[in-house]
C-alpha cells in the first residue's frame, strides 16, 4: 500500500511547500519502534530527559551500562513520526556500543541510517542524540557519585 504511492517521489524536498513524506525505513521504525519502554530503576545506569521547545517534542531515554558498553537501552517519545523513528533508530545504533562510540553518534548518522527524513524534520533527530548524551552524562555523574562514596 505504501508502494502504490511511492513511485511518484524523487527529490521533492528541493521544491516548495510542506512535504511530510517519510520513506519506508522511517515508517517501519515509526510503526515498530525498537527499544520502546522504560528500564527499571534498579537496572538503570543513566537517564536522560530532553525536550524540543520549538516543536514540543519530548524524549526520555534509559541506559544500562556494563563494561563501558551500553547493554540495554530504552526510550519513550512524545512527538511526530520523525521524532519516534529517529528515537528508535538512535537506540538501535547505540545498543551494544561502548560509551565512547555512543557519544560519537551524530544526528546525521541517525538520519543516514534511516535513509533520510524530511528537511523540516531534521531537528527531531537531534532530540535522540541529546537524550543519549544526557543519559551518558547522568551515568558519568552517577559513577562519579558512587566513586565519591567511600
Amino acid at each position: 500500500m505504501v508502494d502504490q504511492f511511492n513511485d511518484d517521489f524523487g527529490d521533492l524536498e528541493a521544491s516548495f511547500g510542506p512535504i511530510l513524506y517519510y520513506n519506508e525505513i522511517v515508517i517501519e521504525h515509526f510503526t515498530h519502534p525498537r527499544n520502546v519502554g522504560e528500564l527499571d530503576e534498579s537496572e538503570t545506569d543513566g537517564f536522560g530527559l530532553v525536550g524540543d521547545p520549538f516543536c514540543g517534542d519530548q524524549m526520555k531515554l534509559w541506559i544500562a551500562v556494563g563494561k563501558d558498553k551500553i547493554t540495554k537501552i530504552a526510550f519513550k517519545s512524545f512527538g511526530c513520526p520523525g521524532a519516534i523513528a529517529t528515537s528508535s533508530m538512535l537506540t538501535a545504533l547505540a545498543e551494544g556500543k561502548t560509551i565512547e562510540e555512543a557519544r560519537r553518534i551524530t544526528d546525521d548518522d541517525v538520519i543516514e541510517a534511516l535513509g533520510g527524513i524530511p528537511e523540516r524534520k531534521r531537528h527531531c533527530s537531534l532530540l535522540g542524540v541529546r537524550a543519549l548524551h544526557a543519559a551518558i552524562d547522568d551515568w558519568e555523574r552517577r559513577r562519579a557519585g558512587s566513586a565519591d562514596q567511600p
Partner: protein
C-alpha cells in the same frame, strides 16, 4: 481509502465534471473576444454568475470570480483597505481566522493598518461583547469567519453584522467552510463581503468567487484587462467558473439532507471515540458547529503521528488546516480557545463528506483507538498523570 478531510478539499462531483467538459473541449473561446465563439464563453460565465447569485440570494453583479478562497479573502481585505485607507486604518478580525485572513491582516499591518484580534471563549466562539468597544472612528472593516475550518464552530455573524451596520463599518465573513453546510443566504446574513471556494464543495481547484455587496468600495488586487468590471483582471477560467456554479448549485440542493446525514455520522464518530479512547477532548463540542467537522485532542500523543498512523491504515485525516500542515506550531485556533500547546499538538480534525458512510466511521473509530493506544505506549507523556 477512507477520506475524512473534506474541509481540506473534496473530490470533483461527476455532475461538476460533466458541466465543465464542454468548456474544456469545444467551447474554449475567450469570453472577452468580440466574435460569437467568444460570446458563447461569455454567456457561460454570465449564466454561471447568475446561477450562483440565485443559489446564494444575491444579485449577479455582486459576484466576482477569482482563483481561490485565499484570493477572495485577499481581495476582500486588501480591496476594502486600499479603497478606504484614506478614511481609516483600523481593521477588526479574530484570533481564529484562516491564514488567508490572518496573514493578509499581517501584511496590511506592515502597510500601516492597525489590526485588532478578537478573542474566542473556550468553546471557540468569538466574544462579541468586546466588538462594540474595539470599534473606533478609524475602523473600516470587521472580518469574522462564518464557521471555523478546524473546529467547525459557527460564529454569531448576524449579531456581528448588526453591530457593524449600526456603526457603519463593513463586514467580511469567510464563508469558505459554510457554503453547502449552512444555509448561506447572503442578503440575510448581513455581510458585505464573503468568499466561496469551489474545491471545498466538490468543485474544481483554482476557482472561487467573492460576494461583494452592491456599493461596497473595493480596489482590485490584480490589475490589467477589464474583466470582472475591472476588479479582477485576467482571462477568465471559463471551465472553472462553470464548475463552480454547478458545485454551488449541488451544495445548496443537497445541504439539508446531507447536513442531517453527516451530523448523525459525526455524532456516531464522537460517541465511538469517547467510548473507546480515554482522555479525549472534543474541541468546540458545546458550541453550534457545522455538521461535518470534529476536532479532537488526545493527551500524550502527537497529532502528526496519529495522522501517519491512520494514513498507514488507508484513512486520510489531518491535524488542522491543510495549508499550515508541516508547520511545527500547534494550531492557533485551539490555542486561542485556551488549550495548552501540548494538548493542541495532540489534536486532529476529522471532516466528513458526501462519500462518508457509517462503515467508514466505525472503521475509523477502531483504527484511531488502536493508533492512539500504540502511540501512548511509546509516549513519554502519560496524559493527565504527567505533571506539566
Amino acid at each position: 481509502m477512507i477520506y475524512l478531510d473534506h474541509n481540506a478539499t473534496t473530490p470533483l462531483h461527476p455532475r461538476v465534471f460533466e458541466a465543465m467538459l464542454p468548456y474544456l473541449r469545444e467551447r474554449w473561446g475567450n469570453p472577452s473576444s468580440p466574435y460569437r465563439f467568444g460570446n458563447q464563453a461569455r454567456a457561460a460565465v454570465e449564466r454561471s454568475r447568475r446561477r450562483i447569485a440565485e443559489c446564494l440570494s444575491c444579485s449577479p453583479t455582486e459576484i466576482l470570480f477569482c482563483s481561490s478562497g485565499t484570493e477572495a479573502d485577499n481581495l476582500a481585505l486588501r480591496g476594502v483597505a486600499h479603497a478606504l485607507g484614506a478614511r481609516g486604518n483600523h481593521i477588526v478580525t479574530t484570533a481564529i481566522e484562516h491564514h488567508a485572513v490572518l496573514n493578509t491582516c499581517k501584511a496590511l499591518e506592515s502597510e500601516g493598518f492597525r489590526i485588532t484580534y478578537l478573542p474566542v471563549n473556550e468553546d471557540g466562539i468569538v466574544q462579541i461583547e468586546t466588538l462594540a468597544s474595539v470599534l473606533d472612528d478609524q475602523t473600516i472593516l470587521v472580518s469574522v469567519m462564518h464557521a471555523n475550518n478546524e473546529t467547525g464552530v459557527i460564529q454569531p455573524i448576524k449579531e456581528i453584522a448588526d453591530i457593524a451596520r449600526k456603526r457603519g463599518v463593513l463586514l467580511h465573513s469567510d464563508t469558505v467552510q459554510t457554503v453547502g453546510k449552512l444555509n448561506v443566504q447572503l442578503a440575510d446574513l448581513g455581510v458585505d463581503l464573503a468568499p466561496v471556494s469551489a474545491h471545498k464543495i466538490y468543485g474544481p481547484k483554482g476557482i472561487a468567487a467573492l460576494y461583494v455587496r452592491e456599493g461596497t468600495p473595493l480596489a482590485p488586487v490584480i490589475t490589467g484587462g477589464a474583466q470582472e468590471g475591472g476588479l479582477r483582471a485576467g482571462t477568465e477560467n471559463v471551465a472553472g467558473i462553470v464548475g463552480l456554479a454547478e458545485a454551488v448549485a449541488l451544495a445548496v440542493e443537497h445541504r439539508e439532507t446531507e447536513g442531517k446525514r453527516l451530523a448523525i455520522l459525526r455524532d456516531r464518530l464522537e460517541k465511538g471515540v469517547r467510548e473507546s479512547i480515554r482522555e479525549v477532548r472534543i474541541n468546540g463540542a458545546r458550541a453550534p458547529r457545522v455538521p461535518n467537522t470534529s476536532n479532537m485532542s488526545f493527551s500524550g500523543v502527537d497529532g502528526e503521528s496519529i495522522v501517519l498512523g491512520l494514513d498507514l491504515c488507508g484513512i486520510c485525516l489531518s491535524t488542522g488546516s491543510a495549508c499550515s500542515t508541516g508547520d511545527p506550531e500547534p494550531s492557533h485556533v485551539l490555542m486561542a480557545m485556551g488549550i495548552n500547546a501540548r494538548e493542541a499538538q495532540g489534536s486532529i480534525r476529522i471532516s466528513l463528506g458526501r462519500d462518508t458512510e457509517r462503515d467508514d466511521i466505525d472503521a475509523t473509530v477502531q483504527a484511531l483507538a488502536a493508533t492512539v493506544e500504540r502511540l501512548r505506549a511509546v509516549s513519554s507523556i502519560q496524559g493527565s498523570t504527567e505533571p506539566q
